[in-house]
């Protein structure tokens, strides 16, 4: 069993009912005779491979590899259960219409994923014969979201599979680029060549290719990373590395990526500029990323909690945000508490932003932050004793602040203590500037009216 897949998916209690309900689970270890025999029977060459069979023993579908998180794996199995884009469904579609280019393409991708180059090539060739002009439909790659006609994908995949092997022949890929200059797949073709030349020692041919690549995509971060990685690996030229690093930093400044900044730092290091390397990939860079991630997780949690969807994941991400950001300001904890409250978990909200937070002397708080705490709980109508203690604390610090008296009035009103609410509101009016008195008076009148109604 692939260790990660076992740990994250098959040992995860969350997925057990789904697996129990829908599958009989069978392990085939290539290292043992029975597993090796089954691998041979189904021509499975890579691991981990997941093969799903029907009750008749026929192949329903398969997928190769495991890409965390476990939800990805679960989604694949759910897709298979629904019969979406499965080998079996594609074969059935083809039985109905042997010229269904989309189904042929789907099968080609399936065989390609299974590393069955011969069967994949056969299907790709069928597509090119049936649809030479690429009019039968489009495919969007789920990894990079590049959309192109089936026929173009078929042509490129054929070119790539022809170029693989003990004696790589790059000409078919070059031909694809030359014959399809406007194709959205040209960059993919170039990047495949880059992966080949990137492994080659520096030399005229590789240098020429990378110069061509950079000239063709001068503002593409993915391409520039490829060019820069090669220079870093080859330990020069440093001036070119610095120039590319500067360009990459500018292009990715909107949302810097740690993997890219690592290469940028390596480029500056190559030129002996350790200060710039630290600037690009030092403590501040990473702490900023962590902080941004914490807020990103919080936004995610808020988004889904507001919609009452994906609650389990939303709460897990709120928890992760808390772990990342223990020294954040009160508004961060207030927001997290808000997420927990919306999800119906009051006790967790109180753990994060309740009396313990208020009383924790290690967390410095000013009167505004203390009053915000009181207002937050007052609005929720929960934890009101602590809200009252908080607003009193704020008033101890700033007894002349009319707005804290107004807060005190609000908390008392929420506690249904109309008499104290009225007293506090009167004090607020007494201290308030002339411009605020009218609004406060209106609130006071409302309080008095409701008190009279009650009596």
């Amino acid at each position: 069993m692939c260790r990660l897949l076992g740990q994250q998916y098959f040992s995860n209690a969350r997925f057990q009912p789904f697996l129990d309900k829908n599958f009989v689970l069978f392990q085939a270890d290539n290292g043992e005779s029975m597993g090796a025999e089954i691998s041979k029977r189904f021509a499975v060459s890579g691991t981990p491979t997941t093969l799903v069979l029907g009750g008749d023993g026929a192949e329903v579908d398969w997928f190769v590899g495991y890409r965390p998180p476990a939800g990805n794996y679960q989604a694949q199995l759910e897709r298979i259960l629904k019969g979406q884009n499965t080998f079996k469904a594609l074969e059935s579609a083809l039985a109905v219409d042997p010229k269904n280019v989309g189904a042929i393409f789907g099968l080609a991708r399936k065989w390609s994923e299974r590393h069955d180059v011969a069967k994949a090539q056969e299907k790709y060739k069928e597509i090119m014969a049936l649809d030479p002009d690429g009019k039968a439909g489009f495919y969007t790659d789920g990894n990079d979201f590049v959309t192109a006609p089936y026929a173009e994908y078929a042509k490129l995949d054929l070119a790539i599979s022809n170029s693989l092997g003990p004696k790589p022949d790059l000409m078919p890929i070059r031909t694809f680029i030359a014959e399809n200059p406007q194709s959205h797949l040209v960059k993919k073709a170039f990047l495949f060549l880059a992966s080949y030349y990137g492994e080659q020692p520096p030399g005229r041919e590789a240098d020429k290719f990378f110069a061509e690549l950079e000239a063709r995509f001068p503002s593409d971060p993915e391409v520039l990373v490829s060019c820069l990685t090669r220079i870093v690996r080859g330990k020069g030229p440093a001036d070119k590395a610095v120039e590319l690093a500067g360009r990459l930093r500018a292009l990715t400044a909107f949302s810097p990526d740690p993997d890219i900044n690592l290469v940028i730092a390596q480029a500056y290091e190559l030129s002996g500029d350790k200060a710039k390397a630290a600037d690009a990939y030092g403590e501040i860079f990473m702490e900023t990323k962590v902080q941004n991630l914490a807020y990103g997780l919080l936004s995610y949690a808020k988004y889904w909690v507001d919609r009452k969807e994906h609650l389990e994941s939303a709460l897990a991400m709120a928890e992760a945000a808390l772990k990342l950001q223990t020294n954040e300001g009160p508004s961060f904890f207030r927001s997290i508490a808000g997420v927990y409250l919306k999800a119906g978990n009051e006790s967790k909200a109180l753990d994060v932003y309740g009396p313990a937070w208020l009383e924790n002397k290690a967390v410095a708080k000013n009167d505004q932050e203390i009053n915000s705490y009181a207002s937050f709980w007052m609005r929720q109508g929960k934890n009101l004793d602590s809200a009252l203690a908080a607003v009193r604390k704020a008033l101890e610090i700033r007894p002349e602040a009319y707005y804290y008296w107004s807060s005190l009035s609000d908390v008392y009103a929420r506690m249904n203590n109309k008499a104290e609410a009225i007293k506090a509101a009167e004090k607020a009016i007494e201290l308030a500037p002339a411009t605020e008195k009218a609004a406060l008076q209106k609130k006071l009148d409302g309080l008095k009216d409701s008190a009279a109604e009650k009596n």
Partner: protein, 49 residues
């Protein structure tokens, strides 16, 4: 010591309770079982070395 043993035992039992049940027997029998239970067979190929 006894306490540590008890805790370890609990952890072992807990993880055993969580672990998936893999079919013991041949693939053909797994297929037959899937057919009788109206399920699919999930074959996980791996390299145990």
């Amino acid at each position: 010591m006894k306490k540590i043993f008890a805790v370890s035992l609990l952890l072992v039992l807990a993880s055993a309770a969580r672990a998936q049940t893999w079919f013991k027997g041949s693939l053909d029998l797994a297929v037959a079982k899937a057919k009788s239970e109206n399920k699919l067979v999930l074959v996980e190929f791996y390299s145990g070395g």
